[in-house]
């Protein structure tokens, strides 16, 4: 098929013309959107296309569902009849944690996959597309897998575990805002880990999971912070993940037990023992999320520059 200059432009400039201005390749926003959605699309193909849809569905939901069931059984044994009150607590925490683990690992694994396995990172980097936009697109695809797990865990929580979700009682504005800022924070933390993985060897595959494992303890997802020593509770309070999960809990079930505050918690020694309200959780989420996002942007920019200086963008450790 013959392609003419009139029908195809190469990056928004006249094909074949040498010299002069290389052009800007159309609008900047248009270019960003195109690169982002292309990455989402390619990322989804890579996430979901390695097996048949049924097997992929099972893979996507088996982990969070089994995790929720294990925890519920544990709670039933440990807490006995009182466990019924903790089921919503555990189901919401586990459901949202599915987004955290997939979201945090998505960007870092994209870096490692593209650099070491597919050997494509250098070609993406030297294209005009915004590097961070391409990475975020790839991360969104993985976040989609996590979102499927979240939804299915909540549905199973309602249908199987009898979690009393009442759509009429859900504080939708809080839930929407908490989801928006919470996911932004997850992506920011993912960017931070991607920045670290850009500097390290292939063994850093496990870094995102290690980070998620540590954060799991201090975020109040399943274990209330009150069971942890005060210094560790402080760690939980300065990360946005705990505030996100707490805000989502308040939105779903205003009367659910608190994961980060209440009697005996470190937060209680600051605020006098009150369980933080949904608004307070949102405010704390916005502040800690903003700090995390800013830090991630700075660190990622620094990391890319350092990788370019040290020749790490096409590093293949082969291990």
């Amino acid at each position: 098929m013959a392609v003419t200059a009139a029908s195809v432009t190469a990056g928004g400039r006249r094909p074949g013309a040498i010299g002069g201005s290389p052009g800007e390749g159309g609008s900047r926003l248009g270019g960003i959107a195109r690169a982002f959605w292309t990455s989402v699309r390619i990322g989804w193909r890579m996430e979901a296309n390695w097996t048949d849809p049924l097997l992929f569905f099972i893979y996507s939901v088996a982990k969070p569902v089994s995790a929720a069931l294990i925890l519920v059984v544990m709670l039933s044994i440990v807490a006995g009849p009182a466990a019924a009150n903790l089921r919503p607590f555990v189901v919401i925490g586990t459901a949202l944690w599915s987004l955290v683990t997939s979201g945090i690992s998505g960007l870092a694994w994209s870096i490692l996959d593209d650099r070491e396995r597919y050997r494509m990172l250098k070609y993406i980097y030297v294209s005009p597309a915004d590097f961070v936009v391409v990475l975020l697109g790839r991360g969104v695809a993985r976040l989609g897998v996590g979102a499927a797990g979240t939804i299915i865990t909540i549905v199973i929580g309602i249908l199987v575990l009898g979690v009393p979700f009442d759509l009429g009682r859900i504080d939708w504005p809080v839930l929407v805002l908490a989801t928006l800022f919470g996911l932004t924070s997850v992506v920011a933390l993912a960017l931070l880990l991607a920045a670290i993985c850009l500097q390290t060897r292939q063994e850093s595959w496990s870094y995102p999971e290690a980070f998620a494992g540590a954060a799991f303890l201090v975020s109040g997802a399943v274990f209330p912070l009150t069971v942890l020593p005060a210094p560790v509770q402080v760690l939980g309070l300065v990360t946005p993940l705990g505030w996100w999960i707490e805000a989502a809990r308040r939105a779903f079930l205003p009367d659910a037990p608190s994961g980060i505050g209440g009697a005996g918690s470190y937060l209680a020694s600051i605020n006098g023992g009150a369980v933080p309200s949904a608004a307070e959780c949102l405010l704390a989420l916005i502040v800690t999320g903003a700090v995390a996002t800013l830090a991630a942007a700075v660190v990622f920019r620094f990391s890319v520059r350092r990788a370019q200086e040290r020749g790490l963008l096409d590093l293949t450790t082969g291990s």
Binding site: G16, I18, W50
Partner: protein, 381 residues
């Protein structure tokens, strides 16, 4: 109009750029081809570029002050053994790696400060690697890059398919990348490299690991692409001397991070052969080689062994060392006077390997340096 020859701006075909003699390493460049638009900046301008990598064992100098100028429209070759610094230079010019010191410009744009502009007008293809998203189809892989280069989705599909047809992968466009052979994957990579219709294409050992047929096909494609539009430039790194000899307008011989010599293939060969050497086969020679050794321009004449069967062994073969080619006329005239009939005449040419040996003191195969340098992440953290 094919995908290779979109809307040339001036003229019809690119002429190989003429080059002045380059007996020593130099930054002198040939005059721009008349077909290249006036005012077009140098395709490459590299000044005192150094690159030092940190390693546990200490600093490794990959580039030790490289100066280089390449005119728009040239097919310029970097020839050197593994570890010479060729790939490091390409990485710097494609904005993948920052130089430790020095400046480098691509069509006038600085590699450190104008990266966005450079990325619009260049592309790169590396050989000897299995790059590509195996799970995507061939056309999806190309389309993805069309989007990164700012094309509309529809145009991206059209251009992807046109390029795949051109490189001979049209029938495999729906196959997964993982099913392609090494040669096919490299053709796909070349198609990706042409996706943005670059002004300059960086080819880093593009035929490495390919069979003879695939390598020839790839070389034809790159030559066709360059010839289609005046000003299209190629920087080719290779350690295949025949490839550099065959393709490049000019060649820089690189060794241990330094450019040792720059010139056309013929100019470089003249470095090691200042005289002209011919082998002449005659039916007879009255008076022996002494009868021509005294002729003007003849440096030396010696008898050589003849090849072939009994009939050929009746003939006489002589090796002639002449001051230059012009002296050959007098020799041929004198042989005619002596009644000798010339049965064969062959000029002996040095190879680029000879040039390398002359410059370095040893051949390519004697080199055992690492192929690629990189900062050791552990050393740098």
């Amino acid at each position: 109009m094919s995908v290779m020859s979109q809307e040339p701006r001036v003229g019809a075909a690119s002429e190989p750029a003429a080059s002045p003699a380059a007996e020593t390493p130099t930054t002198a460049t040939p005059p721009a081809s008349p077909a290249v638009p006036a005012g077009t900046p140098l395709a490459l301008q590299v000044e005192s570029v150094r690159r030092v990598y940190k390693a546990k064992s200490g600093a490794v100098t990959a580039l030790a002050g490289v100066d280089l100028e390449v005119q728009a429209g040239e097919l310029f070759g970097l020839l050197g053994p593994n570890g010479a610094g060729k790939t490091t230079l390409i990485k710097i010019l494609t904005t993948l790696l920052a130089p430790t010191s020095g400046t480098a410009k691509v069509f006038g744009f600085d590699v450190e400060h104008e990266t966005k502009r450079i990325r619009r007008i260049m592309n790169m293809v590396a050989g000897g690697e299995q790059s590509g998203y195996g799970i995507l189809t061939v056309r999806e892989q190309l389309w993805m890059f069309s989007q990164f280069y700012g094309m509309s989705s529809a145009d991206g599909w059209k251009r992807s398919e046109a390029l795949l047809d051109r490189v001979g992968l049209g029938e495999k466009k729906h196959q997964r990348v993982s099913t392609l052979s090494t040669g096919e994957r490299q053709k796909m990579n070349l198609a990706r490299g042409l996706m943005n219709d670059p002004w300059i294409l960086f080819l880093d050992e593009p035929t490495l690991g390919l069979d003879v047929e695939a390598a020839r096909s790839l070389r034809e494609l790159m030559l066709e692409w360059r010839a289609a539009v005046p000003g299209r430039t190629i920087l080719l790194t290779t350690h295949y001397m025949a490839e550099a000899d065959e393709l490049c307008d000019r060649i820089a011989i690189v060794h241990k991070g330094r450019i040792l010599a720059i010139g056309t293939s013929a100019e470089l060969k003249r470095r090691v052969q200042r005289e002209s050497i011919f082998r002449v086969e005659l039916d007879r020679l009255e008076g022996g080689v002494g009868s021509i050794a005294h002729l003007p321009g003849v440096v030396k004449a010696t008898t050589a062994a003849t090849d072939g069967g009994q009939a050929e062994r009746q003939n006489v073969a002589i090796n002639l060392v002449l001051e230059d080619d012009a002296a050959l006329g007098a020799v041929v005239g004198a042989l005619g006077t002596h009644g000798s009939r010339i049965l064969g005449l062959q000029k002996s040419e040095p190879t680029l390997e000879d040039v390398f040996v002359e410059l370095v003191g040893r051949g390519f195969e004697d080199e055992d340096e690492p192929e690629e340098h990189v900062d050791d992440p552990e050393a740098s953290t």
